[in-house]
């Protein structure tokens, strides 16, 4: 069967229960919103193909359950992911504080070179806001992760968040490919890799072939 896309990226959405992961994904994949979504059990799956700088990129997106008890199940999917969206709810302080725990989870379970992005969702609910945009930005700087506030309800920044993440993955992939085809670059890259402690799982790049 002929492939209808140039790249396949696997993405993952994580964050506390009720922050709006499913709504964000639903907005992105169906361009629709429901005020009351059913809770996600385990993991759900969605796809959307986007056009990125002339390339067809198929995004395979896993939506996870936020509750602590599902953590064992959901972390199994960290490893194959190339990009992870960390979602918190700007009207819920605790979900913001927990972002640090989610990052630790990524460090322990995902590939070392996984692309990450922090989303502060529900930014349409200004009156209920508990976490300022500045604090979100500060956290993002601290961890050197991109950050954007979104509203799945008002369709604000959801599209651009996924495009940004996908573009970063694509750029990283193409850079590595270039290095691989350049003998000098490959040698130094290989050297660095050898010296890196083997604590982290293998890079998704080493396992991901260009489709």
């Amino acid at each position: 069967m002929a492939k209808t896309y140039d790249y396949l990226f696997k993405l993952l959405l994580i964050g506390d229960s009720g922050v709006g992961k499913t709504s964000i994904l639903f907005r992105f994949s169906e361009d629709a919103f429901n005020i009351s979504f059913i809770s996600t059990i385990g993991i759900d799956f969605k796809i959307r193909t986007i056009d990125l700088d002339g390339k067809k990129v198929k995004l395979q997106i896993w939506d996870t359950a936020g509750q602590e008890r599902f953590r064992t199940i959901t972390t199994a999917y960290y490893r194959g992911s190339m990009g992870i969206m960390l979602v918190y709810d700007v009207t819920n302080e605790k979900s913001f504080e927990n972002i640090k725990n989610w990052i630790r989870n990524i460090e322990e379970n995902a590939s070392a070179d996984v692309e990450k992005m922090i989303l502060g969702n529900k930014c349409d609910l200004e009156a209920k806001r508990q976490v300022s945009k500045e604090r979100g930005e500060q956290l993002a700087v601290e961890y050197q992760i991109k950050f954007i506030e979104t509203s799945a309800k008002d369709s604000l920044n959801v599209e651009s968040a996924f495009y940004t993440l996908a573009r970063d993955i694509k750029a990283k992939m193409e850079k590595k490919q270039k290095e691989a085809s350049n003998p000098a670059g490959a040698r130094s890259g290989g050297h660095q890799l050898r010296n890196e402690p083997q604590r982290k799982p293998t890079s998704w790049l080493s396992r991901c072939s260009l489709l």
Binding site: A32, Q67, R69
Partner: protein, 483 residues
């Protein structure tokens, strides 16, 4: 399928024996009916023993009767399952082309039988499926089509009579009740039967009123003790955010009165079961009990948007307390599903994988080739006992069988999941990539399913269990099997 019958006939287990009294396999089993007494020796002592039997459980908190001890004999559930299969075969014409051999190790799923059945499904209630984009979302529950539940009642008048006779007897034989319930319970008899099968209502008529009063008072006390007091924040918050998003399309569940009832039931259950606590999905398991007891309180009403405030406070309290106690009993056998790391589910997912590999290797390999992991689709099936995959009236019918399963339904559910997966095998085999498979598996089209689909499903599950569960060590590798 033809090849079944001789197999069972050889053992003298003709399908028409289902309605007859089974041979008692367990010595000293209390006997309650006069008819039985004539058959068995030493009956007067046994009658006496039966009438006082549940006194042993007086001090027990959750379990009132000795229901856990009772078992359906193999022959009985076997013939019940066969009856369903046979009646379906007789009522549909083209089914026989897919013969199934029980003795062969590779058993072909009865997909075609069910496909045929679909064409003759009675048209019941409302339009097909829900509207809007929600419909296409994974695990989307459909609106309650309650009429689907009530329509079958007329066709089972005689069965209802049998239930009523049984309910009226001074001491109910739970074995008999399970036998007759396994293949489905008439709506009018369901609430009482579920209470009995759950081990909440004592089989002894003399003790029923008093027990119900006491348990309902106990529940009120629990509400004061746990819910009205200072609450555990994390548990409460999780329940509180889950309830409103349980069935966003059904007006009934958007009533504050209903939401608070669910909240109390779940919160108290969670606090009293700290090993698991509240796990998302358990909320869906309250719904069938709630609906059955609500239907009892509001007979003949459309329940989709039934205003709960129309009931008296006492009626609402009964629905809530009975839902709580029955849920508690129901969850007892599957608590390991909800403990740390959800080990029960992980184990069962591996068992499912092993089972499908043995039953239907081509399907198994098809899934594996395309990178579909069983956990990706069957986790929710097990965590929510299929409540997210089938319409609510079907769940309720399925629970008739679960509650009537003697050794708890935990094992049986594995085979129901296997039968459920095999039901879609033809469609799955047509899917040529991971994405197609995963989208189908997470959105199986059951919106037009009725009770008859469930009857076929459990019969098939029974057949699989019969063929595989008792084979020694057939799943012994399940825990460690990889692809």
């Amino acid at each position: 399928m033809e090849s079944y019958q001789p197999e069972y006939e050889k053992n003298g287990l003709l399908s028409d024996t289902f309605w007859k009294t089974p041979q008692r396999a367990i010595p000293g089993r209390p006997c309650q009916t006069v008819k039985r007494a004539e058959v068995m020796s030493g009956s007067s002592y046994q009658q006496f023993q039966a009438s006082v039997n549940d006194a042993w459980d007086l001090g027990d908190d959750d379990i009132i009767s000795g229901i856990a001890e009772t078992k359906i004999s193999k022959a009985i559930s076997q013939t019940a399952a066969l009856n369903v299969i046979n009646s379906h075969r007789n009522s549909s014409k083209n089914v026989n082309k897919n013969d199934v051999k029980v003795e062969s190790e590779i058993v072909k799923p009865k997909v075609e039988a069910v496909e045929v059945k679909k064409n003759e499904v009675r048209k019941v209630g409302g339009g097909a499926g829900s509207s809007g984009p929600m419909r296409h979302y994974p695990g989307r529950p459909r609106p309650v089509r309650w009429s689907a539940l009530t329509s079958r009642e007329e066709s089972s008048e005689s069965k209802l009579e049998r239930f009523q006779q049984m309910h009226d007897s001074t001491v109910i034989d739970l074995d008999d009740l399970k036998q007759i319930s396994w293949s489905g319970i008439p709506v009018k008899a369901r609430a009482i039967t579920w209470r009995l099968l759950a081990g909440y209502l004592p089989p002894n008529a003399e003790r029923r009123v008093e027990t119900l009063e006491r348990k309902r008072a106990d529940y009120k006390h629990l509400v004061r003790q746990y819910y009205d007091a200072e609450r555990d924040d994390d548990t409460y918050r999780q329940i509180h955010i889950d309830i409103p998003r349980m069935s966003p399309l059904v007006a009934l569940f958007q009533q504050i009165t209903v939401q608070v009832m669910f909240e109390r039931i779940l919160y108290i259950w969670a606090i009293r079961h700290p090993a698991s606590g509240y796990v998302q999905g358990i909320n869906d398991l309250v719904t069938p009990f709630f609906m059955v007891f609500l239907q009892e309180a509001a007979p003949g009403q459309e329940l989709d948007n039934f205003p709960l405030d129309k009931l008296s406070e006492e009626q609402r309290d009964i629905i809530e307390a009975d839902s709580f106690w029955c849920l508690s009993k129901f969850l007892d056998s599957i608590q390991d599903n909800y403990i740390f790391a959800q080990l029960g589910i992980q184990y069962k997912v591996n068992q499912l994988k092993e089972l499908i590999r043995r039953i239907d290797l081509p399907l198994h390999e098809h899934l594996q080739t395309h990178g579909v992991d069983y956990l990706q689709f069957s986790f929710r099936w097990m965590n929510n006992l299929l409540t997210r995959e089938i319409p609510l009236p079907c769940t309720i019918r399925l629970w008739d069988t679960y509650l009537a399963e003697s050794d708890g339904f935990a094992t049986f559910q594995l085979y129901v999941c296997a039968a459920f997966l095999l039901h879609w095998r033809e469609r799955l085999m047509l899917e040529k990539d991971f994405q197609g498979l995963m989208i189908l598996l997470q959105n199986v089209p059951t919106q037009n399913w009725t009770d008859s689909n469930i009857s076929v499903l459990v019969a098939e599950a029974y057949r699989l269990k019969f063929a595989f569960a008792d084979a020694p060590n057939h799943l012994h590798n399940a825990g460690k099997s990889d692809r």
